[in-house]
């Protein structure tokens, strides 16, 4: 028999009606992956892109060489950030259902990726997020009130009504404008980092994309430019297993890990348990030191799970088992950090409950204030004339003419 080529279609392990199946996920035991010197050549530390860096073990203890030895107080802050992100997401999801906001995207199950990464960086490091990184705004101290005003496109909206909900930005917090088009920020982060190197800045750039978006050519551009110019940048692929309905195998995950693409470009690649706050913090610190000391870029694959729908326009029950997340072997990032702190004697179920209540109250109160600045359907409203501003630095005559026409149209003239 002569073998013939047949189109290979990546297998999706479980669809609706099937039992969750994560047997494809290669896991390393907590504490077992060696932590190399930050100056190691990318090709010498390939194992980091194949293994899975984990710090928290099954008993929620921190073990092994990647243990970041953070103060309990810092871990409590981390838990608070993650929980606030979750409580905020939860409330906004429900509010979207009630029609007050047009669209929302939760980061449920992925809170550690944003919170731990941002906490391991300096505030002056520049962040180029995707649309599921709300935790970085929480870490950097942007009031959720401001995020809510963006969701409402109201009179305090940082985007002046121009962007879809969740497409935030924060210049003073060093967080770049979220695009809505996929992966575009990845090579931009590299360019920012190249400029930092040109200018002799001490700051680094960090960007996140989903594993699905890593299929875009911009992923290749980012890795190539980062490698060629040894840019001080950390490039994160958030492998949450699902790109809307499409399993990660369709983005190339069936062949090899996403982190393994790093060494192929001469870029250090690390695969990390994205639901382990301590592990994400530790690898980010490692990569940040590497970048800051001129040893070049790192590609980090965060293995996590998108526990919620892709967006409020999506229904995952149509394409994956309803209880899929319950079967995910890396658990829930908030629960794991909580249990770790409880094990340290630095937290309790009671404190967790009261913190949750406090944050819920904070979110409700912030929402009340946010809607007082207007909603899509209730006054006060932004001046529609704002749509003509910022197209250019100075509004050219044809746009000024159109703005006048629009005003006449609204006034019924």
């Amino acid at each position: 028999m002569v073998a013939k080529s047949r189109l290979h279609v990546p297998k999706t392990p479980a669809r609706p009606g099937d039992a969750p199946d994560f047997s494809y996920l290669k896991l390393s035991p907590a504490g077992k992956v060696a932590r190399p010197d930050v100056g190691s050549a990318a090709t010498e530390i390939r194992y980091l892109s194949e293994e899975l860096v984990r710090v928290l073990d099954e008993e929620h203890r921190a073990v092994g060489p990647w243990h970041p030895h953070l103060d309990a107080s810092e871990l409590q802050v981390a838990l608070r950030h993650m929980l606030l992100t979750r409580v905020f997401d939860d409330r906004m999801q429900r509010i979207q259902r009630s029609g007050k906001i047009s669209f929302y995207m939760r980061s449920l199950g992925e809170e550690a990726v944003s919170v731990a990464t941002a906490m391991a960086l300096k505030p002056s490091d520049m962040l180029f997020p995707g649309y599921r990184n709300q935790g970085i705004f929480v870490v950097r101290g942007r009031p959720i009130l401001d995020l809510m005003c963006q969701l409402l496109s109201n009179t305090r909206d940082m985007c002046k009504g121009r962007q879809l909900p969740v497409m935030y930005h924060w210049r003073d917090g060093n967080i770049f404008s979220i695009s809505g088009n996929l992966a575009t920020q990845f090579p931009q982060a590299v360019g920012w980092a190249m400029a930092a190197a040109i200018k002799g800045q001490d700051d680094i750039a960090v960007s996140w994309i989903g594993e699905g978006s890593s299929a875009e050519a911009d992923f290749h551009h980012a890795l190539l430019f980062a490698s060629v110019y040894k840019a001080p940048v950390i490039l994160c692929v958030v492998n949450n297993q699902w790109a809307i309905s499409t399993f990660q195998g369709h983005a190339g995950g069936e062949r090899q890990t996403f982190a393994a693409r790093g060494p192929g470009y001469g870029v250090a690649g690390i695969r990390v348990d994205g639901n382990d706050f301590l592990a994400v913090h530790a690898v980010t610190q490692w990569a940040a030191e590497r970048a800051r000391t001129g040893r070049g870029p790192t590609l980090i694959e965060h293995v996590t799970y998108r526990a919620a729908a892709h967006s409020t326009s999506d229904d995952p029950a149509r394409y994956r088992p309803k209880d899929d997340y319950q079967g995910f072997p890396l658990g829930d990032p908030v629960e794991r950090l909580k249990n770790h702190l409880i094990g340290l004697g630095e937290w309790s179920e009671e404190r967790h409950k009261s913190l949750t209540a406090e944050l819920e109250e904070h979110v409700v109160k912030s929402w009340k204030e946010a809607v007082s600045y207007g909603t899509l359907s209730e006054p006060p409203r932004l001046d529609p004339g704002l749509m003509f501003e910022d197209v250019f630095k100075e509004t050219p005559p044809h746009l000024r003419r159109q703005a006048a026409e629009m005003r006449a149209e609204i006034e019924g003239k």
Binding site: L7, C159, G161, E216, I244, L382, L399, Q402, E409
Partner: protein, 338 residues
Amino acid sequence: MAQMNMIQALNSAMDIKLGQDPSVVVLGEDVGYFGGVFRVTDGLQRKYGESRVMDTPIAEGGIIAAAIGMAVNGLRPVAEIQFADYIYPGFDQIVSELARIRYRSAGDFTAPVTVRTPCGGGIRGGQTHSQSPEALFAHVAGLKVVMPSNPYDAKGLLIAAIEDDDPVIYFEPKRIYNGPFDGNPHKPAVPWSTHPKGAVPDGHFTVPIGKAEITRAGSDLTVVTYGTMVHVADAAARNLGLDAEIVDVRTMVPLDTDTICNSVARTGRCVVVHEATRFAGLGAELSATIQENCFWNLKAPILRVAGWDTPYPHAFEWEYFPGEARVAKALKAVMEAS
């Protein structure tokens, strides 16, 4: 005949072609198991298998390029780009490759690819889910460009596109996927079953590429438009009590200059309407063509109604959208000019 919305009509077109022609394949993001984020490919993978209805990586450049390669090897790919706003990573493959393969190889190689993509606003999609980039493609020599305004045309044009030996960029105005839209977002949604063009033959038929259609005959003036705006313009004219002739362009390239210009020559007055930004939009081409052909018949300058020359703003969607008021103002101005 069956009652179909545009989604069902497009689905039916692909179903028929996949069934008739083993060289037809469908590819795109989420089009397979899930059936597409707008459900346009629903059920096709189940029926025709994973090698003919393919979920692809999120890589529009890759989707278009792979479709070209498949077409060069004898397949007839129908590529879906999930939103027209996402088509730009594939722009180089479309402009530099797809459009010119026949030309540069003196006809020795061809790529009969259909690129389907939902376009247009009115769905609270903001600047990344609302664009109407048809003029960018109409400007490129070698691409056919179409946009239907109803389920009947959607099915007939898609079958024609798949059967066409040249590449076709097929825009689907997503605001009217489920029903015609007169431009007033505060009115209850109307289903396609209320509209004569919601009646669609079950089987194979084509609407020829390159033919405009007069969707309403009239003598006061001619409105040249396409997509969602066919319905908005029709409502605006009716509410003004004007006996307007509405010409649905349907195919932007190659343009049916005869149908358009014969109408304007008869009425002597013309308004061009589209949702896309005005500057260097298709309206400029239409207006120039009409002027060149009908100058001596014109009783008034041709006016254009379009989206403003800004990105599509989330909060000001209906101030941006060229709704009934903007269309009516132009209709009146053209009628009042002596």
